[in-house]
């Protein structure tokens, strides 16, 4: 089993906790309380090794950080060690995308970018696709705009709805596949160098702390 650390970042109330709960517990709570500090959850998924056609189990250890400004200083501690970051925005709120872009910038400057998988996620898609004009909210962020930005920055991109569950699984699936790819590369490289064989099970990927937290919250 492979184990990866994943962190969620984004403005308050864009639906980070809702996405995690949909993924981990397959449930949705209309009246979820705003997160305090950072919450911890875990979930496993299966992916298929494209070469060997074998199933690989991946376990995500997830830190769901609070989006409120007050907790901003806590985030570095959790993204510093992460293998993947889910940067979430709300498709009906233009400024939430700006905040998300701020997080992407921070990640790129504070974390060695090489093997950190960043995924940009637009949430609350259900609000824009609802039937009937009256209840449907305007989509403030066009998919093409966000996707263009994601491509430009080399991020994964998904639009989801934590409420209906649409797209949530795929987010984690694609992150898992990407991480597995990286991992295989790394293993192949190290094998090549050491010349030693043997299957590596239960690998823990730990990112070396590059920065201390105080330097990231200026």
């Amino acid at each position: 089993m492979l184990q990866f650390k994943l962190v969620l970042l984004g403005d308050s109330s864009v639906g980070k906790s809702s996405i995690v709960h949909r993924f981990v517990k397959d449930s949705f709570d209309e009246f979820r309380e705003s997160t305090i500090g950072a919450a911890f959850l875990s979930q496993t998924i299966k992916i298929e090794d494209k070469g060997s056609q074998q199933e690989v189990v991946i376990k995500f250890e997830i830190w769901d950080t609070a989006g409120q400004e007050r907790y901003k200083s806590l985030a570095p501690m959790y993204y510093r060690n992460a293998n993947a970051a889910l940067v979430v925005y709300d498709v009906t709120q233009q400024d939430s995308l700006a905040k998300a872009q701020g997080w992407v910038n921070e990640l790129k400057t504070k974390v060695g970018e090489d093997d950190l998988v960043i995924c940009l996620v637009g949430n609350k898609l259900d609000l824009c696709t609802e039937e009937g004009e009256s209840s449907s909210k305007p989509k403030a962020v066009e998919s093409s705009d966000a996707e263009g930005y994601a491509n430009e920055q080399g991020l994964l991109f998904h639009e989801v709805s934590a409420k209906t569950g649409e797209g949530v699984k795929q987010v984690f699936q694609s992150i898992g596949e990407k991480l597995y790819e990286f991992k295989k590369h790394e293993l192949a490289n190290s094998k090549g160098r050491q010349g030693a064989g043997g299957d590596t099970v239960n690998v823990q990927l730990q990112r070396p702390s590059t920065n201390d937290a105080t330097s990231c919250c200026g």
């Binding site: 184990q3 650390k5 305090i36 500090g37 950072a38 919450a39 911890f40 875990s42 250890e61 007050r70 907790y71 200083s73 806590l74 501690m77 305007p138 403030a140 201390d212 937290a213 105080t214 919250c217």
Partner: protein, 516 residues
């Protein structure tokens, strides 16, 4: 004649079908039954939504209902690029559903800023009677005639004072009466005591005579119809006996837990109200061994105020004197800060004018800084003293808590207000400005432990967040252990260590200012 006939015929029907005839309040026509009257009102007088004319027109030709639509030709249009800009917040978009025209003034607003509703007629004019509800902007909403967001103000103080005066007057009279009765009782008992001091049957005769005296001083209330205690309202019965208060004559119980009445020795009664005009000296009364039953209400009204006045003469509890010192120190800090703000503005002005600051300004600025630092330190030490006090009673505990909250709020607020002092937190080097050179006076000199106040505030906030999170992670570890998820315990423990380290670092940065 006509009416009578109608009445007769329906009267006949009334007997068989039990339907009453009602005359229409509008045209007077006599109508059979409520349902028919309602229909008549709706159809012939147009009470059902909209005016009668419209009703008629609609029923003739449904297509003309278009006429009812509100005018749109005054609506503001998006600019030539198809972009619309909200009048209120200035946000712009090309998407038509992101914007809306105020139905009254016609200006363009974003969805957020056109949330009010107003009754308008088809000419988009305000019509509270016949209009329909339409979306409008806040300006149109609040500018409509009769709009009032705050309710109206009616001054009732004088009538209230009048009422209170009469009530207080009654209370004073009543108190006088009680005092009068007490004096008479004490005097009477003293003379009975003097009379039978030598008798062998002293205690017996005394009790008899005293009880007679008590009844003459205060007429006892007849206890026949009295079913429950006049203080606690618990019904009397086999286990709950009736007692008379010797001052007001009311019937009360003597439960210990409610303290509705108690027997108090003469000595105590007199000692607690020494100011009353007894015939004997207070010291002479001490030897009389006699108790009098008083109800809770009489005890309160007789001794409440006296006790309060006595308490006032005692030295203040430490908590209260600390409160007062805090109060005066906070005033000092506030004054100094406002002084400093003005001073800084003046300094900045002279800086803009490229003037070299005067010598005395420099010393003045230094003085104020020292004063401020000293009084803030003083305030902190006082606040710390308050938190160390063990409260003597629940009231003190309450006061202590409030003082703690108030003092930490005060400090946070003042630190915030220091942000407004020009240059106080802007610690980017502005070496080009001439003001820095002569005496190295930087406004950022206002330092705690080499930190600017804004940094102190930031670190303290961070420290609080870290401690909160540490607590959360500790409980997560407990939970994971219970569920035997040991690999998660490992991850969480690693995080706990990181948090502890970070807390230590932040605390180190704060140094002395780490108070919470």
């Amino acid at each position: 004649m006509d009416k009578e006939g109608g009445g007769n015929s329906s009267g006949g029907r009334q007997q068989s079908g039990k339907v009453t005839n009602i005359s229409c309040p509008v045209c007077g026509e006599s109508i059979e039954g409520l349902t028919k009257l309602n229909n008549h009102l709706d159809i012939d007088h147009g009470f059902d939504n909209g005016s009668p004319e419209v009703q008629k027109r609609n029923s003739k030709n449904p297509k003309t209902s278009k006429v009812q639509q509100i005018v749109k030709n005054h609506w503001q249009r998006p600019d030539s690029y198809g972009r619309a800009v909200c009048q209120e917040c200035g946000s712009s978009s090309k998407k038509s559903n992101a914007f809306i025209n105020c139905r009254k003034c016609g200006l363009i607003y974003c969805n957020l800023h056109c949330k009010n509703i107003i009754k308008l007629n088809t000419d988009a004019q305000y019509d509270p009677l016949h209009g329909k509800w339409y979306a409008c902007c806040y300006r149109c909403f609040s500018e409509r005639p009769g709009y009032n967001d705050y309710g109206s103000f009616v001054d009732k103080t004088s009538s209230f004072i009048g009422l209170r005066e009469t009530k207080n007057e009654d209370k004073r009279l009543r108190l006088l009466q009680l005092e009068n009765r007490l004096v008479r009782l004490v005097n009477g008992i003293a003379s009975i005591h003097a009379k039978c001091k030598s008798s062998i049957l002293m205690s017996f005769t005394m009790r008899n005579e005293a009880s007679e005296l008590e009844r003459t001083v205060t007429p006892w209330r007849n206890d026949r119809g009295v079913l429950d205690c006049s203080v606690c309202f618990k019904p009397f019965g086999l286990t709950l006996w009736k007692h008379h208060c010797r001052l007001c004559g009311n019937i009360v119980c003597n439960r210990d837990e409610t303290g509705c009445s108690s027997e108090i020795s003469l000595q105590h009664l007199v000692n607690a109200a020494k100011d009353l005009p007894y015939q004997q000296k207070v010291s002479d009364l001490a030897e009389i061994d006699h108790s009098i039953r008083l109800c809770y209400k009489c005890i309160r009204s007789l001794y409440g105020e006296r006790k309060f006045k006595k308490d006032l003469q005692k030295p203040k509890p430490q908590l209260l004197s600390l409160c007062e010192s805090l109060e005066s120190t906070s005033k000092l800090i506030t004054d100094t800060i406002s002084h400093m703000e003005k001073f800084m503005i003046r300094m900045d002005d002279s800086k803009i004018a490229e003037q070299i600051p005067k010598e005395e300004d420099m010393t003045e600025s230094k003085k104020m800084r020292t004063k401020l630092l000293r009084s803030v330190a003083m305030y902190n030490s006082l606040a710390r003293q308050v938190s160390r006090i063990t409260p003597a009673n629940p009231t003190e505990a309450k006061i202590k808590r409030s003082v703690q909250v108030a003092s930490s709020t005060f400090i946070n607020e003042k630190i915030l207000s220091l942000k407004r002092v020009p240059g106080m937190i802007d610690d980017s080097p502005r070496t080009s400005s001439p003001i820095r050179e002569p005496d190295k006076v930087k406004s950022t000199d206002l330092l705690f432990n080499n930190l600017t106040i804004s940094e102190v505030k930031k670190y303290r906030e961070e420290l609080m967040v870290l401690k909160e999170q540490k607590f959360l992670v500790e409980s997560m570890i407990e939970e994971a252990k219970k569920q035997r998820k040991f690999d998660e315990v490992a991850t969480l423990s690693t995080n706990l260590n990181e948090l502890s380290e970070q807390i230590a670092t932040t605390q180190g940065n704060l140094g002395e200012q780490g108070f919470t």
